[in-house]
């Protein structure tokens, strides 16, 4: 595999049923091109957690994935409310999810910590009232 593959997805904030579609497509693509299964799983989980966050916290957003021979980069952007306290948000068990989100099985406060756990690099840029961009990298 010598070329770079770029994938772009628009994630709707309205449709919880479709959340995870982008991650599923990325996972299929990575498997198709023969990426190491352990790396596929790490990317899939990190991206899925991020995609769910876009839907339940940010009102939707965009996902860009770049697949290179040495690494896979994921960028998730939204125009949501921003993260008020990043340190708290990165704490396991802390969540700002609503009651209705918790009844759907999420909001346990593991999303951001999981994303950090499964990736080699992670950076969060956020601005209250403007939105958030999350960069993640998995090395191959």
């Amino acid at each position: 595999m010598s070329m770079t593959i770029k994938l772009h997805f628009d994630v709707s904030g309205e449709d919880f049923t479709r959340a995870g579609e982008a991650s599923g497509e990325v996972k299929s693509k990575l498997r198709q091109i023969g990426v190491d299964p352990a790396a596929v799983r790490r990317v899939s989980i990190a991206l899925y957690e991020g995609e769910i966050n876009l839907v339940i916290h940010a009102g939707g957003g965009e996902i860009d994935v770049e697949i290179c021979p040495e690494e896979i980069t994921m960028v998730l952007t939204d125009n949501g409310p921003g993260i008020a306290d990043i340190e708290k948000a990165m704490t396991e068990g802390y969540s700002t999810a609503t009651e209705s989100v918790r009844s759907l099985g999420f909001g346990a406060g593991m999303g951001l910590p999981n994303m950090k756990k499964y990736t080699d690099e992670m950076k969060i840029d956020t601005c209250i009232g403007k939105g958030t961009t999350i960069y993640m990298k998995v090395k191959l």
């Binding site: 049923t17 995870g20 991650s23 899939s44 099985g105 999420f106 346990a108 593991m110 910590p113 999981n114």
Partner: protein, 115 residues
């Protein structure tokens, strides 16, 4: 142990994936919180859950879990079954509750598929 054997022990109906009942299951993970599954489960496990929405299928897909068992009489809707079929997953459904389901499977030797 196979999915078919598991279905028998917990008196579960096979909702979809009838062709895959001989698939081996090395471990199981029981939870109603998908965030927990994403954080702790191992692959190729059985997911036992009372949560019944499309994200259960998506979570199982991300974790490479090939069989889902819904407890407490929960039944997946058509959209969920479609998602599962597309991913060659088996869906079981039992009226038993979480504790009993896990206990019965533990008794016959199935262990936790978690890190």
């Amino acid at each position: 142990m196979t999915i078919g054997e598991i279905a028998n022990v917990i008196s579960a109906d096979v909702v979809c994936g009838e062709d895959f009942l001989t698939r081996e299951v090395p471990g199981a993970f029981g939870s109603d919180m998908m965030s927990e599954v994403l954080a702790f489960a191992n692959d190729q496990s059985l997911l036992i859950t009372g949560l019944c929405n499309s994200q259960v299928i998506r979570t199982a897909e991300m974790m490479d879990m090939t069989c889902i068992c819904f407890v407490r009489g929960k039944m997946p809707d058509a959209e969920m079954i479609k998602l599962a079929k597309e991913r060659n997953m088996v869906i079981l459904a039992t009226k038993k509750r979480m504790f009993d389901t896990c206990g019965l499977l533990y008794e016959i030797g199935l262990r936790g598929g978690g890190k």
